[in-house]
Amino acid sequence: MSQDLRALFVEDSVDDAELLRRELVRAGFQPETERVASAVQFSEALDRGKWDVILADFSMPGFGGAAALEILKARGLDIPFIIVSGTMGEDVAVEAMKAGAHDYFAKRNTARLASAIEREVREAERRRRRLADQRRLEAEKERLLEELRAAVQMRDDFLSIASHELKTPLTGLKLQVQSLARLCAREPSESVPTAAFDAKVRTMLHQLARLTRLIHSLLDVTRITAGDTTLARETLALHELLGDVVDATNESQEWPRAEVTIDAEPVVGCWDRLRVETIIGNLVSNAMKFGNGRPLHIELRKVGAVARLAVRDHGIGIPPEGQARIFEKFERVVPREHYGGFGLGLWIVRQLVSAHGGTIRVESAVGDGSTFTVELPIDRGDRAQ
């Protein structure tokens, strides 16, 4: 056995220290030793290096094992500390162990010293590892807890946004239904002009559509968050779908009506119809919402094996620092009071685009509008999944 050992001696006698060193060599250690005899020297030695073991005389004039243990404890160091003392009565031994020494030997009776050192070094190493593990676990726990807190906070914020958003169409709907009930209660039904009914029912249907859209986006989020983006692919003529979705979005009247020009090449591919409708619908309604009522330009091109859809508005634009953030969940670059919505539209778009193996990017300048470009592989993008 030949084990490296950095041993610090707290010993006023040079000879005793040398004897101890030889003892260690004889026991099979390759010791690197240093002798200190005062608090200052001891502290300096601790500053200088990493010690495997401290061997200390207990009863030295001025400075001894008890004082050394104090210093060690004050520094919070866990180094095996073994008393090797000339005079070692029971009472002194008990005192030393109480003070924190790991073991004790009389100077003329050190037969078991080597195995005690080995054992204590091993123990100390185990304690250190356990402490490190514990600290790592604590940090991990703290991190998870922090994540959880943030998630709960986000959910609470979102619930409050969601209820606010749902209340708006609900207000219109409730007023119309109540007014219809009032109408029915007041006049014999044949005298109520059909046109009045018709107008009310039309408004109610519009509010219902709005509520339905909000609820759909809530469901989209729930599904996507649960990892359910299984695609129901079918052959689609993207240019035809594009026209339909743009018309439907413009008719919803939720945003200032915008003049939309579509410049579309015929592109046929294999995608999930509902998901692609959501992608286009969210991009177009976003462009209307933030487009200041200015014309939108939509372009669809077949570029190699990819369908490239670009939606350009001339609205408020997005500052550079906001451009990455807008694709995150619940993020919005504008204050919520100014533009309603869940703050989920672009996040949903990004998730659905990547489920198709596609990409999305934005180019934008404040005041100059934004262009969102989606690229969807035309052949089945299954390999990506």
């Binding site: 007014s179 107008a199 408004t203």
Partner: protein
Amino acid sequence: MNVASHKGEAFSNHAANSVAVLIVDDDKDIRDTIQELLEYEGYSVATAENGAAALDRLRHVHPQLILLDLAMPVMDGISFREEQMNSDSLAAIPTIVMSARPDPGKDAGPLLVRGCLGKPLDLEELLTLVAHYCRGAAA
């Protein structure tokens, strides 16, 4: 005294500056719906899509009641209310807050308004309040 020939008719014959209610809400659906319902009850209505637009409208119309949403772009209901209170000619116009916030009464408290309606609004409640502040405005 406003005169309405019969319910549901537009009030084109009114003096341009006298309306019963000014609705201030950024949501077009809500503005349109309340306007339609109040007009159907015989009240004349003006609308504005935010606080700034409302101040602009108030230079030309003098409503007997303002229905005020709180969360709006450009100028929200709170800022509008401050501006209104600072104006001698506008401060006296009774104002009622409409809000979708969880505790609208708390939000509206410091605004010194006459009342507070939580969204979704209740038609009867709305009509009772409007009738109270706009006596003689309806047919």
